[in-house]
Point group: C2
Chain length 242, copies 2
Amino acid sequence: MKKFKKLEPVDTGSLVDKVEIKLLAFFKDNNLKPGDAIPKELEFAESLGVSRTVIREALLRLRTLGLVESKKHRGMILKQPDIINNFERILDPTLLGEDTLKQLFELRLILEMGMADFLFEHKTQKDMDELEKIVQAEEATDTGKIRFALDREIAFHGKLYQMSKNVTLQGFQNLLLPVFEYVYMKETKNHDLDSDHFTGGKFITHRMLLENLKVGTPETFRNAIRRHLEPHFDHAFKNSNK
Amino acid sequence: MKKFKKLEPVDTGSLVDKVEIKLLAFFKDNNLKPGDAIPKELEFAESLGVSRTVIREALLRLRTLGLVESKKHRGMILKQPDIINNFERILDPTLLGEDTLKQLFELRLILEMGMADFLFEHKTQKDMDELEKIVQAEEATDTGKIRFALDREIAFHGKLYQMSKNVTLQGFQNLLLPVFEYVYMKETKNHDLDSDHFTGGKFITHRMLLENLKVGTPETFRNAIRRHLEPHFDHAFKNSNK
DNA sequence: TTTTGTATTATGTCATACATATAAAATGAA
DNA sequence: TTCATTTTATATGTATGACATAATACAAAA
């Protein structure tokens, strides 16, 4: 077979792709910041030499990602992209594959293990009081019913996320919540575990975590919550080894 | 003043919004999974009673989010949404506000603190050998130059993420990397710190982390990396208190 | 059998028109 | 002049129709 010189593949990318890149470059080059207004669709169309349709599609992508916001009928401005919000629409457990679900579940474990320092740094008395209430409420109810156990889990751990004072992290927690619920229910169903497995018995309870948060350090808290999450870690590792 | 019956506010959401919701419902109701083909634009347009323009915009959103993929000129299929990839384009530190940058930086600290268990669970000999090489390479070079210090940070910590065997987490790391670089450069510039502040001196070095990974436990490793990240935590907390 | 041509089809792009919400300008009343 | 109201200009939202183009299947030709 005769050898030919290599032939570079032609640029097959769509116009919209190119325009999107040009737009992003435009924002950067002009040092535009969130809140700044951007040119009109027709102006872009003219200066880039494409139809308004293409401009609209490129801008729509950026809008979908939250980088620009359209003030209806008045123009568009640059926006602080809200990373979290967009995920929510598509992060439906029923639309996700098993592997993705598993990874997101792991991610949640990682977040809870990692936020200890921020809890201790930012906690307030008000936070602690509220957490106390949550724990008291759950101690007052009868245990054993898995569905309620899940609700209590969410209340307690959700409060922790909130106490981190990092709204991006909180957004994440909301995002991962359906995934958590989904996997949680599957865990408890598949393996016929009683809820004690998660909230009581030999494991660290919410009460113990709360006390640790009062008198402990980030280090002691990490060790405590690690043991509290033990069954979930077990679950994550078990599946990873099959 | 005469009292009127309440007048429900009219639905002011755009057509595209509604269509997007309808499309998502369609996918769920028909139990469509990644890989399945979906109807054509014109079919949607007809059955939903709107123009092809609206259908296209709604579908474009879902494409931007990675939920559907368009096989050029052949149709569209459902896709496993690649959550991470899309955000790389817009997560440009120069386009983000200070507060978002700060939160993303914190998020990175949280991730590194939280992944210890997964490192120990999934590490392989090959991983450890590669990490050894990375550390040796950085020990062989002259220290002091901040830019190189940053490269070494990225190499070492990037490898850690990779060792977690969680690709979503790795995607996150890639996502957050520009933010990290940006904040890192600002930290070192603003406070005139020498790179020893980050890599040597009284702090935990990469070498020490590696040794810990060999003979330690998740618990000891967490404490070690916590001290390794000390200056970054300081930075995060300092800003949060002003 | 292999190659080449052709029809079909769905998305990509363009052009144009009109609807409509908003803000700014113009107008009118006090 | 000042305030309230109306008008107007404008940019996005939506609709329609057209054609280009790439992927595919299938027929025709070698």
